[in-house]
């Protein structure tokens, strides 16, 4: 019995060895986070910390209006860092780049995070025995409204009576 090369197992092994909250960016090659065009870096507009009090926003109102992720107990700064706007933060205050947002998601969704790290949850493309690209949580779930949206299905198969007609 021969195993795939060590190279193939590297991302997996690394993910497993790393402590749950400390998987580092080098281990996981992921799709870029799905930013709205032109919106990142946030520091373009937010050059300093703002008012931390939850309130109705005039800008980003479409996100706030459609926010369905533990509302009304949460708002933007639960996840987005007020001081360093190009980062997110964990509960312990640690800053996390957007490319590693899974650390943030994993704080609450530990079971999904564990499954995702070993490939049981989520999606990967590339090589089954080598280099692969992970999909981040946010590539499939809108973090502000994470429930997976219904899709238009592709057409049904042609029934036997209509084949060849």
């Amino acid at each position: 019995m021969k195993f795939p090369s060590w190279r193939a197992l590297l991302p997996l092994a690394a993910a497993l060895l790393a402590a749950p909250l400390a998987a580092s960016a080098e281990d996981i090659q992921a799709q870029p986070p799905p930013f709205t065009e032109g919106i990142f870096p946030c520091s373009q507009c937010h050059d300093k910390a703002g008012d931390p009090a939850p309130r109705q926003l005039a800008f980003h109102d479409e996100i706030q209006g459609g926010f369905k992720h533990g509302a009304p107990d949460r708002w933007c700064l639960e996840c987005h860092d007020n001081g360093k706007r190009d980062f997110l933060h964990l509960i312990n205050g640690k800053k996390v780049p957007f490319t590693e947002s899974y650390q943030l998601c994993g704080q609450c969704h530990g079971d999904k995070y564990r499954d995702w790290k070993v490939g049981v949850h989520g999606k990967r493309i590339g090589m089954w025995n080598g280099k692969k690209t992970y999909f981040l949580c946010v590539n499939c779930h809108n973090p502000h409204n994470p429930r997976f949206k219904a899709l238009k299905p592709e057409p049904p198969p042609i029934p036997p009576q209509e084949q060849g007609r």
Binding site: L9, D115, H121, G122, K123, C140, L151, P155, P157, I158
Partner: protein, 314 residues
């Protein structure tokens, strides 16, 4: 798993094949029979003689197989107006493939069906051939085929009260289909994939009758594969163009997976319901699924022992 039936591996096992070429007597006998057949059928005698000279793949020398593949590449490159490659990769050592499908995730969008059609050069219509069939089932009844339909067509999926179960070749450990084939045109390879030699199949459809999963599809007419949509990267036992009158089915995209890539259906799935990997590697995704979740196989009572596992991640 019959070793004798294996495809001679071109790259690294020249010693495996038995006897090259056919004897003069064979040739004469075939030529005579060919002429008769051609006269009866009213078609080109050379083509028929060539057909009759063919031997079972396991009897071909690597050189003979290589020249056969070269001929096919030339023929299809001309036909489809692009450079078509036909490999015969053979299984990777130390690999036994298995598939996992998360029924709690699948939303029945059929992206996999069409990605498969495209990757594997299936006939688009008349006959329409699709290797994956997505069944819509009632939550009320569970996995019950009397309450299943593949023809659902709402505006959006998933629909309330339903769940979805895609079915394709289950790559059984005890395949009923290979057993019934009267000419050994289909067999199970050491990496677990059940393959068909489309140029050896006689189209008797015993295998389609024997398959409990409706996985085997017959080319009821000349396949309809538009040149523009033809995928030119092919394997002889995988996605290369098929002739009329033979059976085909899912091969876990062996033209991709035997080079380390994921199958097309895994990569297209928008919900990540499809898992694939090497059963012999404890870190592989499929083994992780089996370790962490509870898996089941479809129609377990038939003891076909599929290498295709269904599971509910949540």
């Amino acid at each position: 798993m019959s070793h004798r039936n294996r495809l001679p591996v071109i790259q690294d096992a020249p010693g495996e094949a038995v006897g090259a070429g056919t004897s003069r007597r064979d040739f004469l006998r075939n030529a005579a029979a060919g002429a008769v057949l051609a006269a009866v059928a009213g078609c080109k005698p050379e083509a028929v003689v060539e057909e009759l000279q063919r031997r079972h793949l396991s009897e071909l020398s690597p050189e003979r197989l290589q020249s056969m593949l070269g001929k096919l590449e030339k023929k299809w490159s001309a036909k489809y107006g692009k450079e078509v490659t036909v490999s015969a990769k053979g299984p990777m050592p130390g690999v036994n493939f298995a598939y996992g499908l998360d029924l709690s995730r699948c939303i029945g969008c059929r992206r996999c069906v069409y990605a498969c059609v495209k990757e594997n050069n299936q006939s688009r219509k008349n006959p329409q051939i699709q290797w994956i069939r997505v069944l819509q089932m009632d939550k009320e009844h569970g996995v019950a085929l009397q309450h299943a339909t593949p023809y659902y067509d709402p505006e959006k999926v998933p629909e309330a009260g339903h769940f979805y179960m895609p079915v394709q070749c289950q790559q059984c450990r005890h395949p009923p289909c290979t057993k019934v084939c009267p000419v050994k045109a289909t067999w199970k390879e050491p990496d677990g994939i059940v393959v068909i030699d489309y140029d050896w199949c006689i189209g008797c459809r015993c295998c389609t009758a024997a398959c409990p999963y409706g996985a085997r599809k017959f080319n009821w007419a000349e396949p309809n594969l538009p040149a523009a949509e033809m995928n030119p990267v092919t394997d002889y036992l995988g996605n290369r163009p098929r002739p009329m009158g033979v059976v085909e089915k899912c091969t876990f995209c062996l033209q991709r997976t035997r080079s380390g890539r994921y199958p097309a259906c895994v990569e297209i799935c928008p919900v990540g319901a499809r898992k694939f990997g090497n059963l012999l590697d404890p870190e592989s995704e499929i083994r992780q699924v089996m370790d962490r979740k509870r898996v089941f196989v479809f129609k377990e009572e038939l003891a076909t022992e599929p290498q295709f596992y269904f599971f509910y991640a949540t």
